[in-house]
Amino acid sequence: MNPHLEATGTRVRRPLWTDRSRTIRLLAAVAGIVLVVLAASTLGSYPVELITQVLIYALFAMSLDLLVGYTGLPSLGHSAYFGVAAYAAALCSLKLGLPFWCAAPVGLLAAVVTALLFNLIALRTARGYYLMITLALAQVLWSIAVSWTDLTGGDNGLSGIARPVIGRPLEGAASYLWFVALVFTVSAMAMWRIVRSPFGQALKGIRENEPRMRALGYETWRYKLVASLLAALFAGIAGECFLYLNGFVGPSSLAVALSAQVLLMVLMGAAGTLFGSMIGAAVFVVLQNIVSSYTDRWLFVMGAIYVLFALYAPAGALPWLRERWARYRNSVGGNT
């Protein structure tokens, strides 16, 4: 049994969680996103911008959840793929003048190749080391971005990257939100399919008991590598969404701080649930952009929230909410 699910106590599987209802809930989630985007479009451009960021960070966190929650590989270097994709796409459009439809795939390819190189080393290491080696490797990329100023613009980064043109230029905040919401929905559904597939089940098996999976004849190393490449692909998509949001990429997109933040989003939301990461992403964006306007001590507040979650909802926000919801239903309507 997965230790961080164990912590929620015994959760009896109810018919509520059957496959059909999962599909229904997925559709409900998509409808929810459309509603949120619609509602947001009527707000000012700043709330729209924040909701766009929540979706991008949520996508980024979900990609990390493939590793942390489903494969049991906690990474502290996930910003590497986010940043490499953004840098590569930015360089393609700035230095080579490539259009969006060429630059964006090149960026994603760069992220996947980076993941391949990193994981050839990182996946060899023993349990517990993955976190540290990914941290160190990502730090190498950050160092290059800061010091190779001719290519990367150093800590001033690269700016002036135009937003994609899809039918019409995605200039306004609202039209870009629609674009990101579309990318998010398609990516999220793809990840959902992946974790529900036999491949995803094999990943969970590796997380729970790798020696047993090996004994069953699985080449676990190959599974972990593919999971890493997929995680890098979706992280790259998130990185490019962020690139086009502000037309800017800098070393902060490769920084350890970002890797730590996205890991926190996954852990706080609930590792191994994919959609829990949305809660983590929303909390982070609210803290960084709204709480910081009211108090200089916002980092303390953020730390305290993480500590409280670790203590009182160690499995994350989503299971915690589900449990509350189940209790509420039980108290209201008996056992239905």
């Binding site: 800590d155 800098g250 952009n289 910081s292």
Partner: protein, 388 residues
């Protein structure tokens, strides 16, 4: 009827006043947390001090402040610039100190026609129209730091700066300035930003050099100066005064003694305006102002003077930036005006770190009354004596 008439009259009389009384919204967007937190806070505090001394008004209008932290991250800086411009609808902005943040928000602010006074030193940030700088331009001041030791008679320099944008620019312009003054560069060292141990860097120093020209900042600056002193080297040091910033001197102590360089502001500048500023600042914040605090205060002076010219009007952005461009001020740092690129033209003070009354501080040895922010040999006054 009469009362109604009286009311109408009263309104008519009061309304221009009421209009002038409508607050002006000022955004402050700078580094309030992280490694540059202390500097950005100093900039904010300098600006707030100006407001406090002026009845919380700029050009007669009361000020409504919105303060945002960039957290030292350009992505955050862009998001918050959008918030200030589009959601808070600020009329003017006091902008970031970190060059990367300045560069990141520049295009957006220009597109919004946002009158901005910032302190980021990277040259590209000012646009000659909406973006103004109250600190100094990196290229010109790096050139000056290279030129001065050459002018003082040193012939062989070794250059040290951290390996990132500002450090690379510094090395380039140190060399240009030093060569223009007749010297040659014998060694360039670029340790990584955040080098934990400068022992390996300092033990490589070439013995051919007769002067070191240095740019370091923050934690690096402390470690560098301390390690340099530990090794007992006698090499004279020149360079960016950020290396021995007044906020770092308490930690560096005697290790900073003898470092020379030129800067636009030191708390030890002896002028009536500065004595008053230092006294006020100390009273408000219990510490000496540093250059970034002075820059924040000057930003207040610039906006105050420009809004006085426009009679408090800020709707016509072009008129406001024209008024900002035309300001002539006496600031704690001396006489102040802008050049065509919105770079400040103000004096440079040549200082050396010395111990006076058992207090380690920058001692001003002379001044360049009007330093043009250009990377070319500066017009030095004949009586200027440089440490050798």
């Amino acid at each position: 009827m009469r009362r109604l008439l009286a009311a109408v009259l009263l309104t008519a009389i009061l309304s221009p006043v009421a209009l002038a009384q409508a607050p002006i919204k000022v955004g402050i967007l700078t580094e309030l947390s992280g490694p540059l937190g202390p500097s950005g806070s100093g900039q904010r505090d300098g600006f707030l001090l100006y407001l406090k001394k002026n009845d919380n008004r700029l050009g007669g209008r009361p000020v409504q402040l919105v303060i945002e932290d960039t957290a030292g991250d350009p992505q955050v800086a862009i998001t918050k610039a959008k918030k200030l411009a589009e959601s808070d609808k600020v009329d003017v902005l006091v902008g970031p100190l970190l060059s990367a943040n300045g560069a990141a928000v520049k295009n957006y602010l220009v597109s919004q026609h946002m009158p901005t006074v910032l302190e980021a030193t990277v040259d590209e940030v000012t646009d000659g129209k909406y973006i103004f700088r109250t600190s100094f331009s990196g290229n010109a001041d790096s050139y000056l730091q290279g030129y001065l030791p050459g002018h003082a008679g040193y012939r062989k320099a070794l250059l040290v700066a951290p390996n990132f944008n500002a450090g690379q620019t510094a090395i380039d312009y140190f060399e240009k300035g030093f060569v223009a003054a007749g010297g040659t560069v014998v060694q360039k060292l670029m340790p990584r930003l955040g080098t934990p141990d400068f022992g390996a860097v300092i033990s490589q120093f070439s013995d051919k050099a007769d002067v070191g020209i240095i740019f370091m900042a923050g934690g690096d600056a402390i470690r560098f100066m301390k390690t340099f002193a530990d090794y007992g080297s006698k090499l004279p040091l020149y360079g960016f005064t950020a290396t021995v910033d007044e906020t770092l001197l308490p930690a560096q102590g005697k290790a900073a003694l003898g470092f020379s360089g030129a800067g636009f502001y030191f708390s030890t500048i002896d002028s009536p305006a500065n004595r008053q500023f230092v006294a006020d600042y100390r009273e408000a914040y219990k510490q000496n102002p540093a250059w970034f605090s002075a820059g924040g205060y000057i930003a207040g002076q610039v906006l105050g003077a420009a809004l006085t010219t426009t009679n408090g009007k800020s709707d016509d952005r072009d008129a406001l930036v024209a008024a900002m461009k035309a300001v002539r001020l006496t600031t704690p740092a001396g006489s102040f005006r802008f050049d065509a690129n919105n770079n400040p033209i103000q004096p440079r003070y040549v200082m050396q770190i010395r111990e006076v009354d058992s207090k380690i501080q920058p001692v001003v040895l002379g001044m360049i009354p009007e330093f043009m922010p250009l990377a070319e040999p500066p017009a030095l006054p004949a009586q200027l004596v440089l440490p050798h």
